[in-house]
Symmetry: C2
Subunit: 229 residues, 2 copies
């Protein structure tokens, strides 16, 4: 039953932050042009060098964007989480992807064709502003990432990441759930897994954090902040 499928899809689209303010009729029209994808853990969505034909919204799962590299030591740039979009910037640019994207767990996502979004942009300036803001957020995050990457010591980079993950600014104690496997987080911080492990060990010995599996309990946010100097 096609109408049903379109209706479901429209509901899904409306729940994505980017499309939340778009009129129902527009969303329904968009829903007919959108394709839902399932990818399995380890599957590659696109390779570095591929030409984009649209962009993606992740519904469920986890997608990593990374720079390829010989001898398998790729650098992970970003981990996409449900609700987030990716690939839109390259779509607008018409440049080939500088990174490749891989599902780190089984995932469900929407493929939004370039044509569909172009049509919508002509009619909905609210959406245009939202997309501008969305790409701006991306930019903002990349800037933070660069900031972290440019701090000299490994401990500083880790401390910075932990502070960013604080639920409320100024909280002294909180739990951080790592968004991915430790070696992935390490790569995002431009560290080797070994160094990351050692840093966590040192921070634990200093009484600043406690680690159990993928959960890190920050005990002394102020102490972490002092490392940044």
């Amino acid at each position: 039953m096609m109408a049903k499928r379109t209706n479901n899809m429209a509901d899904v689209l409306s729940s994505v932050p980017l499309f939340r303010k778009v009129e129902r009729a527009e969303v329904v029209a968009l829903a007919e042009q959108v394709r839902e994808l399932q990818v399995e853990r380890g599957e590659i969505l696109f390779q570095r060098g591929d030409r984009p034909h649209g962009f993606y919204v992740l519904l469920e799962g986890r997608i990593t964007l990374a720079f390829p590299s010989e001898q398998g030591a790729e650098r992970i740039l970003e981990v996409i989480k449900p609700g987030e979009t990716f690939g839109e910037a390259l779509m607008f640019l018409g440049h080939p992807y500088p990174v490749f994207s891989q599902a780190s767990v089984d995932s469900r996502l929407l493929d939004i064709p370039e044509q569909a979004i172009n049509n919508l942009l002509d009619r909905d300036t609210q959406l245009a502003k939202k997309m501008l803001a969305g790409i701006s957020i991306r930019l903002h995050e990349l800037v933070s990432n660069l900031e972290a990457c440019s701090m000299r010591s490994s401990a500083q980079r880790v401390a910075c990441m932990l502070q960013h993950a604080a639920p409320t600014k100024g909280a002294q104690e909180y739990d951080v759930q790592l968004p991915a496997a430790k070696h992935v987080v390490a790569s995002q911080l431009n560290l080797t897994p070994e160094t990351f492990s050692r840093v966590l060990h040192v921070l634990t010995e200093s009484g600043l954090i406690e680690v159990s599996g993928r959960v890190i309990k920050v005990l002394n946010a102020e102490g972490l902040r002092k490392l940044q100097l």
Copy 2:
């Protein structure tokens, strides 16, 4: 003579990637809402934490965006050169600036108020797409920067920078005029001035480049490329 001033301003705005495809009449309308600023060497344009009310186009001079830090060792994220825009991403976000901006020489720039952009966006949907492309380009540049930063060796980072500065793709010999003082360039590459100096020395000894002041003559682009592996 107001009309002349507005015309000049419109010419400048038309040359900004963001407004390249906007109708002349609209650019002229925009030009009337734009303010020209003069800042002196060392002057701070905005501080980290300030709220944006628009964005900037640099006409003349040089603006550095940097993360503040105690003991004066701030990390320079980007050097804005004439013709480039900055601050637009944060304007759409409505977030405070994560960096501060400082004129490294006496500079002239345009301040484009948020209101003016909003008015234009409502009228011209093509403009929205162009702005999307503009921000996408910035994002892409940042990604490249991150990619460069994640390359391990100092020589690789310098070689990468020199390749990016090539006038035509594939040229074997060309001159590179460094956009700023060597210590600034070093900081962009996340190197100390000392290390940067040593790397240039080594590359010179290998016969790959020749350095005289702020001009670097690339003698063997292919040799530089081979370093990247």
